[in-house]
Symmetry: C2
């Protein structure tokens, strides 16, 4: 499968030869994930509570809305989608998560997860049992602080998304998503320009509050205007500056 090959090229190498990798200290995502700014002995203590499970396949759920909250998760390889379903069955994709990113903060409040989490392709995650993480956070001040930071960043991110949904037109929403993905790939030392979208048009549209037709039409238009090039899920960003401009044009 093409996507796993891409993973192997993406800086997540330490994780791929065994899938159950040995430790956080060996992981080349540690600069992005939880152990950031922790010293070696503390990383080892964190490492001991982390559970590394078999990889998920596309469509596998990590947990579902209503499941009791036990753990948070760091993405090790692949890509993950989170979505919530309201009482009437309306679905909303709430985020896409790439290697090095941490998810699952919903559900601490109530004890039950408020959203569902599904793999978009073959993916692996590190599971961090929350009770043990809380204990450890009491002992390692930098870990507690880092947890607050991660949740704070999630909140800021969600606010940015509220602005996108509330104020931007279709082009702006698409451009915002593409640039966000680009930045996150670049952070892992991957190309900021050429990428393979991990999600379907359906998922993009749901996330951005657009229909698949509008997503498709908008991508086609941007292609025609030579701002990007589109071939199915393969995207090349050809004019970052123009994309930036589109991000800020109002609806």
């Amino acid at each position: 499968m093409a996507s796993t090959i891409i993973i192997a090229n993406t800086g997540a190498n330490a994780c791929t030869h065994g899938f159950i990798k040995a430790s956080c200290s060996d992981c080349n995502l540690k600069g992005l994930c939880l152990p950031i700014a922790m010293d070696i002995p503390d990383i080892d203590r964190l490492d001991k509570i982390i559970q590394r499970s078999r990889p998920l396949h596309a469509g596998d759920h990590l947990y579902r809305s209503g499941d009791s909250f036990r753990s948070i998760y760091a993405v090790r390889s692949g890509s993950i989608k989170t979505y919530m379903v309201d009482e009437e069955g309306i679905e909303q994709v709430t985020g896409f998560f790439l290697p090095g990113e941490v998810l699952g903060f919903d559900g601490i409040g109530t004890g039950n997860h408020g959203c569902s989490v599904v793999a978009l392709e073959t993916s692996s995650v590190c599971e961090i049992p929350f009770e043990r993480l809380e204990e450890l956070s009491l002992q390692i001040p930098t870990l507690q602080h880092h947890m607050f930071q991660l949740m704070s960043k999630q909140i800021e991110n969600d606010h940015q998304m509220m602005l996108t949904l509330s104020k931007k037109n279709a082009e702006g929403r698409i451009a915002t998503l593409l640039l966000s993905l680009s930045r996150r790939y670049a952070r892992r030392n991957l190309s900021a320009n050429a990428m393979r979208l991990p999600m379907s048009r359906m998922d993009m549209g749901n996330f951005l509050g657009l229909t698949i037709e509008t997503v498709s039409r908008t991508l086609s238009r941007l292609h025609k205007e030579d701002v990007i090039s589109v071939d199915g899920r393969e995207i090349v960003l050809k004019n970052h500056q123009r994309l930036d401009e589109l991000c800020h044009q109002l609806q």
Copy 2:
């Protein structure tokens, strides 16, 4: 001023006779705010680090985007609006905060606030210096847990808002806001039906991704259909079930 009289009627009495009230243990908002599920000695320790300042007047800023992050805040009386401004100057109202609610979690991640906070009417807040709160959280496990819970609930709330902005039509958005306010008033043992909106049509529209004209028209229509009654900022919810239905109708 009418709004301060309303405050005095709203269950925040313990705070109003002196504005600088003595302690958390005396505050009748303690069931909503931080000290929930803490025992008396721990509440007193928390109480000691809390700073109670002079009340804010309508339009006063608590902090502004870019200010260095120092504290989080609990609303004691009145009402507060948070908003972010992106690089191009597009504004997005990201939330309204009522007595007993905690705000300011943005900015832990970067050390600088990502949004601005302004009082919608005469309001008072408890300021909780974050460094000292972190120290205390290391010593009081339930406090640490409660902090995680508060932030988690903020995240779930924001996700719900993403769904509202992404999937609901104008009526659904308005209905969602009205019911949210109603629930939050009811939690403080105030009327779930009759309320005075603390925010302008402008703020409602900005928050909900609608123009003021659409907000006004939608409220008028709901009034005409006898679902609510509107007189300026005075609102009476007359048909909760219908509002619930509107919440779930798609765009």
